[in-house]
Symmetry: C2
Subunit: 171 residues, 2 copies
Amino acid sequence: MRADAARNREKVLEAARELFASKGYDVPLDEIASRAGVGPGTVYRHFPTKQALFQAVTEARVAAMIASAEQPWTDPKEALFAFLGRMADEASAKRDMSDAITVSPELRKNLHAALGTLLHRAQEAGSVRTDVTATDLVILMKGMLQSLHEGGNPAVLLEIVLNGLQSSRKP
Amino acid sequence: MRADAARNREKVLEAARELFASKGYDVPLDEIASRAGVGPGTVYRHFPTKQALFQAVTEARVAAMIASAEQPWTDPKEALFAFLGRMADEASAKRDMSDAITVSPELRKNLHAALGTLLHRAQEAGSVRTDVTATDLVILMKGMLQSLHEGGNPAVLLEIVLNGLQSSRKP
DNA sequence: GACGATACGGAACGCACGCCCCGGTTGGCA
DNA sequence: TGCCAACCGGGGCGTGCGTTCCGTATCGTC
């Protein structure tokens, strides 16, 4: 690969990182291109589609998040809740985190699998209600993450979900 | 108003009811027109904008829902939870319920006010955590209602939120 | 320094949608 | 029944977006 090709590729990725993070997947591709100081055609030389560019930007972060869930915890419930908390943190800082679930089927599948494992363990330990499925959880989190960008209090919303997931019922 | 004008107006409203309910606000206006058996121009003779048509379709249902919250309950918590449950029911049956919050500032304001009253009473009774605001609740519900159209189990998701709203914490 | 491959940029295409305009038609009153 | 106003339909405009094409500039090699 030529030298300035690599340089431009990096500039595109950098611009995409910033704009996807601040405006979400809906930011026009031309805006990314102009921010990177290149033309739209250049973007398409490096990434076959807008989705591919988005995935290139987000998949590393998602993978890192999932990897952080692998470390052993003493309490399965804490493992699950810490992961959900990290998702919420990431999503309230960068807008593309919630879009990743919608846009990329692959990332969604990965998240689903990771959440499924954590959820299953927590349920077996009796800490989390057993009628929730991994699909339910992914969907619920997606809704919650989107809510974070509309002025809701992140800490409160997350606590409500975590509190609601617990198997104990009302007094 | 002429006779067939009124007839067409009704046909448009009927088509809009069905399509907004099944596909949400995003359905193309031309599709509504063709389903009603009229041209797009005819729709605009009766409604100045797509938003106006949407509001004409949804505002009655929203108003009825809000009105149902006015009846006195013995328990403020039950009043709030019943209302949220009715929102969830409505939203899982018709896709336009969740869009109403986004599309029409007026309907959103009405919902916000109604939820605010119910929430405040339930909080004063000590049944619901006091760090939640009406805005938080509207936002959380909007996210949850949208999630209902993606395959999650409505009963479970609603229960999680209701359970999480309660002021009691984990054991 | 010249040449060929590679990459660039931005104009242009195709599409979808909200919305408007106008020639033709229809309804209802005299 | 005839006339005028009201109304209809659908073609068309403007816009925004993802994507493609191609003439031009640039890099790296001989």
